[in-house]
Amino acid sequence: MQYSSQSVAKPYFIAAIGLFLGQVLFGLIMGLQYVIGDFLFPAIPFNVARMVHTNLLIVWLLFGFMGAAYYMIPEETETELYSPKLAIAMFWVFLVAGAATILGYLLVPYATLAHLTGNDILETMGREFLEQPLITKVGIVVVALVFLFNLTMTMLKGRKTSISLVLMMGLWGLAVFFLFSFYNPSNLVLDKYFWWWVVHLWVEGVWELILGSLLAFVLIKVTGVDREVIEKWLYVIITLTLVTGIIGTGHHYFWIGTPEYWQWWGSVFSALEPIPFFAMTVFAFNMVNRRRREHPNKAATLWALGTGVMSFLGAGVWGFLHTLAPVNYYTHGTQITAAHGHMAFYGAYAMVVLTIISYAMPILRGRAANSERSQVLEMWAFWLMTVAMVFITLFLTAAGILQVWLQRYSSTPIPFMAAQDQISIFYWLREGTGVMFLIGLLLYIVSFFVGGNEKAKAA
């Protein structure tokens, strides 16, 4: 660790992994409810489990992004963090607010929670992924602003690299677009239109800037390739991302009461969205092939390469699969969407956070890389989780294709629940691979406790 203030990243990374475990456990509960409908009912109804599952995902990724930024910005700017105390204080605020929100979901009926937390003052709750109570949303904005203030002040006094600039643009964009979560017009079409300005412009927009800069940072460190080369790639990738992704928002504007020209704009531009992900894969492999050093942290390199491949498959290929309007007409809101969502979030965002954790955590713990045994275990965890996610995606895709056929495409369409009964085998298989994913995650956590501080060579 070059700057002592980088150490504030550590609690952020630990919290991220803990919440990730929670997310996966609730995922398994929901997976079982797909086939044993009354499992844990009425203690944890499906809608509550789903809210916990998706909100934990968002929160652990945010913890990961914030930890990554606190780790990277001092090193990139070559100066200590503006205020490490503020960073630690915000960690606790965010953790307590997050935990209280999840407990609120689990312990209080949602309508009561809405009433208690000021939803009547400004109605923002009850929309997918933005279910958080008003006070939590305000808390997120406060934490984000303090976080951005802290990092921006750090950057102003230090070296300004392209990687840190791109990271800060992504993080500021994240905060700015979140403000649309406070806009909830009664007109359902407008509600949906601007809801996507949070959801799409996050995951297919500004979050990809964060993704790109995290990946570029780790690749510089583990390959030793010249910064100029890597930063040039970074700019090319994020150009492709935003050129395709901004208008690509249109692939959500096909069937929600918006003008039909969006079927053209959305189809054409989102069909190009795989290109930046493909470029990212080529980038990662290229840089590792041209490496000028053998970094002792092989696990981090594996995660970096995996991020490239899996984000291309999940976000790129599985996104393209159902993004053309004539296809989406049949697949919209089916298990195909769920399949894409799982692999894209894992491949792009979960994996890039695990990449930076894999690289930074050993250094935060005072060594260049973990012991051989620990790394082997971590790589086992990588393969178990990644292969499990591939199969989760394949089974959900199979379920989705059958669902489309039974419920929407055949000459005698059957009702939703009748179709669900027909495809339950795939939900069972998905649950099985979900257990495999959990085993992978548990191994991953164990790898942190597998000892040895040998190999403490140069970072």
Binding site: N47, E123, G126, N184, S186, L190, E260, T334
Partner: protein, 141 residues
């Protein structure tokens, strides 16, 4: 990627491209805002519909169902449920939950008042009359 193509060129293309496509997106959004009123059924956006949307939101219906294909995929699409089932069935169905049938997916009972049920039905009626370019493909949603 080598030779004459420099990092600062890549950076300039990034800023130029982003600004151009962001402005194009804003222009398309501006045009959409002019066009949406022809399709969004806002003439029927009554106080009951507004109240119904709040019932929809504060009971987290989107946590299981889709509405115009967006939401969770655990339970049926409700954007067209008014046309599929009609108002009386919807109210009776909500009131009779949970079914308690062993092994079947369960919907909680949300203890809605008669007023809330009526508002929710009005919201679902309004939703079903939005012009969604003929989506979903058939009445099953």
């Amino acid at each position: 990627m080598s030779g004459t193509f420099t990092k600062s060129m890549a950076r300039n293309i990034f800023y130029g491209g982003t600004v151009f496509f962001a402005l194009l997106f804003l222009a398309l959004t501006f045009d959409s805002m002019q066009t949406i009123p022809k399709r969004d059924n806002h003439a029927n956006l009554t106080p009951a519909v507004v109240a119904g949307k709040k019932v929809w939101e504060t009971n987290n219906c989107i946590g299981c169902h889709t509405l115009m294909g967006e939401g969770a995929y655990f339970a049926p699409e409700l954007g067209n449920v008014y046309k599929r089932r009609g108002p009386e069935f919807i109210k009776a169905w909500i009131q009779s939950q949970p079914t308690g049938a062993p092994g079947r997916r369960q919907m909680p009972n949300f203890h809605l008042t008669e007023q809330q049920l009526n508002d929710l039905v009005e919201f679902l009626k309004y939703s079903s009359e939005i012009n969604t370019a003929n989506w979903p493909p058939n009445i099953e949603g």
